[in-house]
């Protein structure tokens, strides 16, 4: 192997084909499995899109490498009344085109993000008014106290009012408008990097912004950044191994060893915030896709526990995820909930599971269909396959319906909710339990949007009550108590079968140093090329 590599290196040197960077020009090439949909910061609330935009645009606040909130375009803020937050804006900040940043831009951005066509309306949920106090002071007024107001503002990027208006981009991109929005392929932020050129899905070139307000503290040494989306896992790995790119993610779990054993490449692993879990239809009186007729076996907690206990997550972690996952007893990452340690997964026990099934009246098991995406989460299809095999051991015959995410989501999500048993993943974008409790576990309710992604229709009145308490409680300790109680209820009722948090896996060449954030946002500002 060593020999091959040496030969390869020699060949590469002779051919000089692979971007050998000279000493002063530090070009950084990287790849992700897809591309940002748009450069319009309000067009899609999706991790990678926001992550790429986050190098160009900035919010009032930002997250540091440890996901702690720190000031960004706002120098400081205070809660002057329970429903009024006052932000002092940073002075002397200039957009890439040289325009000054001031309160008007914040007001403009606040208006734009709440317009039709914006996918980030939720960032200002509960805000009833945004007021300009002076050129560098802005007040946000909420209806009720919202203690978590700024939590998601790290990805609410501030746009330039003048630039947007001059280019007809006052409104967020609207597909139905029938024409392209200027902000889709052009950007004018305040961040450390500027767009030099962009071909959607092909190549995006970024260069550092010399006039960045925080340039004194910049952590990178780059002169050019080339981003290429590479969809095929194998090709992405090959490109990193051959040195055509300096960094890429995600690393397919099976290729971890390969990259780690190669002297030129390394893998950065870390916990991710997304929790993968199994949901069961506990609402309908008869399952849509099962051999059991006339009743719904999942309404029986014993059946749910049998399923829970049939699944050996540790084994999945070891064999399917190759160690790149953290088995979870909760529907949220332990990084985001203080008392996570108190919760333990039920011990896998096939014998007990069989007994539980027999007690519930299914000694010979039954047949059911498991809905599973095959291109959404890390090894999603393989996890489902493993689950199918494990359930087969307690006599439950599972038909696996693994589909691409487009068809999968259309089938299982509201309004259809055409599923009896499904695998889903969830990242709370606010880094907070309330998000999980409200969206995933709360009783589905069209009006309020509660339980929007609770496809199995799990419902518990006390849990919903606790969810509301959590939202408005400002005392952290009390809040955590409510959360603890709610999770205990869910755990006892086996309302969901949490599986694990998948791990981040970024691959890089050895001469690159960078920072990996647990929210899977890749910040170019921390990239150094040696």
């Amino acid at each position: 192997m060593r020999k091959t590599l040496l030969a390869a290196a020699a060949a590469a040197a002779v051919l000089g084909a692979f971007g050998a960077s000279s000493a002063d020009a530090k070009t950084f090439k990287w790849a992700f499995q897809g591309d940002a949909q748009s450069l319009d910061p309000y067009s899609l609330s999706e991790t990678f899109t926001l992550s790429l935009q986050g190098n160009i645009y900035e919010g009032l606040i930002r997250m540091d490498p440890d996901l702690q909130i720190e000031p960004s375009l706002a120098e400081s803020w205070e809660i002057v009344e329970p429903t009024r937050w006052r932000f002092k804006l940073r002075q002397g900040v200039k957009f890439h085109n040289g325009n000054d940043f001031n309160a008007d831009d914040v007001l403009f951005s606040a208006e734009r993000v709440r317009k039709d066509g914006s996918d980030l309306k939720g960032r200002l949920a509960g805000v009833v008014d945004v007021l300009k106090v002076d050129d560098y002071t802005v007040d946000f007024v909420t209806e009720v106290p919202v203690p978590t107001l700024v939590n998601e503002w790290g990805t609410w990027y501030i746009m330039d009012k003048e630039w947007s208006e001059a280019n007809g981009a006052e409104d967020p991109t609207d597909v139905t408008a029938g024409k392209e929005n200027f902000s889709t392929r052009n950007a004018n932020g305040t961040g450390p990097f500027m767009i030099q050129s962009r071909e959607t899905d092909v190549k995006t070139v970024l260069v550092p912004y010399e006039g960045w307000w925080d340039a004194a503290n910049k952590e990178h040494n780059l002169t050019e950044v080339i981003f290429t989306p590479i969809g095929s896992d194998s090709t992405r790995v090959a490109a990193l191994l051959s040195g055509e790119i300096d960094m890429m993610y995600p690393v397919p779990v099976q290729d971890m060893n390969r990259l780690e054993n190669d002297p030129n490449t390394e893998v950065l692993g870390g916990p991710e915030l997304r929790t993968i879990f199994l949901g069961m239809d506990q609402e309908r009186d008869e399952l849509l896709h099962s051999s059991v007729k006339g009743k719904n076996p999942f309404k029986d907690v014993r059946v749910r526990e049998a399923f829970y206990r049939a699944i050996d997550v540790e084994l999945i972690q070891k064999k399917v995820m190759r160690g790149l996952s953290t088995p979870s007893a909760l529907m949220i990452s332990p990084l985001l909930f203080k008392y996570s340690d108190e919760f333990k997964r039920l011990e896998p026990d096939a014998k007990l599971a069989k007994e539980l099934l027999a007690e519930a009246g299914y000694p010979d098991g039954f047949e059911i269909t498991l809905d599973c995406p095959n291109n959404r989460y890390v090894n999603d299809e393989a996890i489902c396959q493993a689950v199918v095999a494990m359930l087969a051991r307690i006599g439950v015959k599972v038909n696996l319906l693994a589909q691409p995410k487009a068809q999968y989501f259309a089938k299982i999500l509201a309004p259809k909710r055409d599923t009896s048993f499904y695998l889903l993943g969830w990242t709370p974008s606010s880094f907070d339990s309330w998000n999980v409790m409200f969206n995933i576990i709360g009783t589905p309710d069209l009006e309020s949007g509660r339980g929007k992604f609770n496809n199995g229709g799990y419902s518990n009145a006390r849990f919903d009550e606790l969810t509301d308490l959590v939202l408005s409680e400002t005392d952290q300790d009390k809040r955590n108590e409510y959360i603890r109680e709610a999770y205990q209820i869910l755990h006892d009722e086996r309302g969901y079968i949490p599986l694990h948090q998948q791990a981040l896996a970024w691959g890089k060449r050895s001469n690159i140093s960078l920072v990996q954030r647990a929210d899977n946002q890749f910040m170019l500002n921390y990239v150094k090329v040696d």
Partner: protein, 315 residues
């Protein structure tokens, strides 16, 4: 030659003797490559027919599969397990058994779709060539449109429509139907064109005209007189198409519209194993890949030989 002196006992024996004495059999015995190809094809058919008896494990029986056995290398390698001659995949499935069952699935889909397109193509070709006129023009127009579209795209389209029309319940059963229909429906044109051509030639021959005159029904004429004459070329096309259908199934699987990984065909095995090529677990994809390549190669070689043997002009 010795066998010309054989005396025949029965009609069957006579038929057999004529076959073995015939040119096809002769050209077969003279081509070692063809003989090897035939032996390999036979082996696959045997595996397909008696897979459950031959395979060391049942890869479809999920209860017997355990992740504990996952990703074991072939038996002769370090960490190999003698129970799994060619190693296991990431679900702990025996690769050898998966290949045996997978060949069964691939051949089934290949055969079913070839038969479908054969029936469709021969039928339409006969009608087109025999009836002629507007019907012929219409059928050939449709054929042209379809021929101008690559089969894989047509298969994708049909696949999409079928998946929408048929209620998705059991992925495996459905996937079989969808694959067979989409591959079958996208390949009928070649048969139709060949049969149409031969039919038009045969139709004008005297015996057919005579049959027509004495009032034999057209269907019967086609069945008795025309069909036997076009079977040669059809057989050749069918052989080549079988190979293509097996590959098409693999490609559709790669595009994510194939069989579920719980009941994999050879194509699905390769698609799934594909991701493990760089990680060192090459056996998950290389063995099924080799199995597929050998099968398709053998069938193609048989097709080649058959074409030459059945074409008297080339003899």
């Amino acid at each position: 030659m010795a066998d010309t002196n054989m005396t025949s006992g029965s009609g069957f024996m006579d038929g057999m003797r004529r076959f073995f004495d015939g040119d096809i059999w002769y050209s077969f015995t003279r081509s070692p490559v063809t003989m090897v190809a035939a032996a390999i094809t036979f082996l696959y058919f045997f595996m397909a027919a008696f897979g459950p008896l031959v395979a060391p494990h049942d890869p479809f029986d999920l209860a017997s599969i355990t992740l504990l056995d996952a990703s074991l290398p072939p038996a002769w390698m370090e960490y190999g397990d003698p129970r799994f001659l060619l190693g296991t995949d990431i679900q702990g499935r025996d690769v050898l058994s998966a290949i045996i069952y997978g060949s069964r699935v691939s051949l089934l889909i290949g055969f079913a779709s070839v038969i479908l397109s054969l029936i469709l193509g021969v039928g339409l070709g006969l009608i087109s060539g025999f009836v002629g006129g507007a019907i012929d023009a219409f059928i050939m127009r449709v054929a042209e449109i379809q021929l101008s579209f690559p089969s894989i795209l047509i298969a994708l389209l049909i696949n999409g429509v079928l998946r929408g029309v048929i209620e998705l319940q059991n992925q495996a059963d459905l996937a079989y139907a969808v694959l067979i229909l989409s591959i079958g429906l996208s390949n009928w044109v070649q048969y139709a064109r060949t049969v149409r051509g031969s039919t038009m030639v045969e139709r004008n021959k005297e015996y057919v005209q005579a049959a027509h005159v004495i009032g034999i029904r057209p269907v019967l004429i086609m069945w008795r007189h025309i069909l036997p004459n076009v079977l040669g070329p059809v057989l050749v096309i069918a052989t080549i198409q079988l190979a293509l259908a097996i590959i098409a199934e693999a490609t559709l699987s790669f595009l994510g519209v194939g069989l579920p990984p719980t009941e994999p065909s050879l194509g699905t095995l390769i698609r799934v194993g594909n991701d493990y090529l760089f990680s060192g677990e090459w056996w998950i994809t290389i063995f099924p890949g080799a199995a597929l390549a050998i099968l398709v190669l053998a069938v193609n070689l048989l097709g080649d030989w058959l074409r030459d043997a059945l074409n008297p002009k080339l003899r």
